[in-house]
Amino acid sequence: MRIKRLEIHGFKSFADRTVIHFGDGITGVVGPNGCGKSNIVDALRWAMGEQSAKHLRGAGMDDVIFAGSESRGPLGMAEVTITFKNDGSMVPPEYRDCSEISVTRRLFRDGTSEYLINRTRARLKDVFDLFLGTGIGTKSYSIIEQGRIGLIVTSKPEDRRSLIEDAA
């Protein structure tokens, strides 16, 4: 299951709707400090079901909704959609006939959340089951966040075990 594209709207600094197409091979992401590169990582993890605001550098989960800037007011909703290409590998049976599978997560200022799979309302559990089935996002070694690579060497032996458990 490859990622085809990531659509970000109202999530952190992505006030305007943005689409990023990931292809095969290597995709580079560059830009000055604070321009939004790591926010893309947060958007990906959030859409895959991250439940801890702290892991997204926020105090509360509403911190991921665009808070405004000097020139614009805050938005009322954050939305991220990941679209996967069904390349036949590790696809849960109910989605086997779709050429694409999309997962959308929305958060409103009043705290309500919505999850969609293929544009249809779904529960958080359905999203987790989908990702669990594909192996995407459940392996901690697939995303190395900024500043965290060194921790693997300085961490306790017990913490290192979980990396290997993810691969087992």
């Binding site: 659509e7 943005t18 689409v19 990023i20 992401v29 830009g31 590169k37 300085t154 691969a167």
Partner: protein, 161 residues
């Protein structure tokens, strides 16, 4: 299950022992179970010896050596059980030019297996991707994306919708 974890541990250890000297241009490293009689509860000790140096506690390694050792382990695990994509956010920041070069060469090999997404400030790393997205904030506080397809004579990639 216990057998599966132990088998995975040994496969990862083998691969790690190959990847480390490739990234360090020599030297050796390995993983050790702190309690081999109880693998599922045991911690995982890390031994790492850069080329020409004496084996000492990993805590004494330099900032760049620690980062590269961690990268060797991550890549070792990845090669045993690849994930559909691998996203690395500025892992090359503490590396010198020679180490960045070897890191980049390995990423190019592994990108034949899975999608790799590299966030970087490093000029050398910026030479290896197939496409690059530049993130800008022309309007302060608002992120925008511009994409360039490096394989296709630098044609722009559609990004905004």
């Amino acid at each position: 299950s216990r057998e599966r974890y132990v088998e995975t541990f040994h496969l990862v250890n083998e691969k790690f022992q190959l990847v480390f000297p490739r990234l360090f241009k020599g030297g050796q490293a390995s993983l050790v179970l702190t309690d081999p009689s109880n693998p599922l509860e045991s911690g995982v000790e890390l031994l790492a010896q850069p080329p020409g140096k004496k084996l000492q506690s990993v805590t004494l390694l330099s900032g760049g050596e620690k980062a590269l050792t961690a990268v060797a382990l991550i890549f070792g695990i990845f090669l045993i059980k690849p994930t559909p994509f691998c996203l690395l956010d500025e892992v090359d920041a503490p590396l010198d030019d020679a180490n960045v070069g070897r890191y980049n060469e390995m990423v190019k090999d592994m990108a034949q297996i899975s999608q790799f997404i590299l966030i970087t400030h490093n000029k050398r790393t910026m030479e290896i991707p197939d496409r690059i997205y530049g993130i800008t904030m022309e309007e302060p506080g608002i992120s925008r994306v511009v994409g360039v397809d490096l394989k296709d004579t630098e044609k722009p990639l559609r990004v905004a919708s």
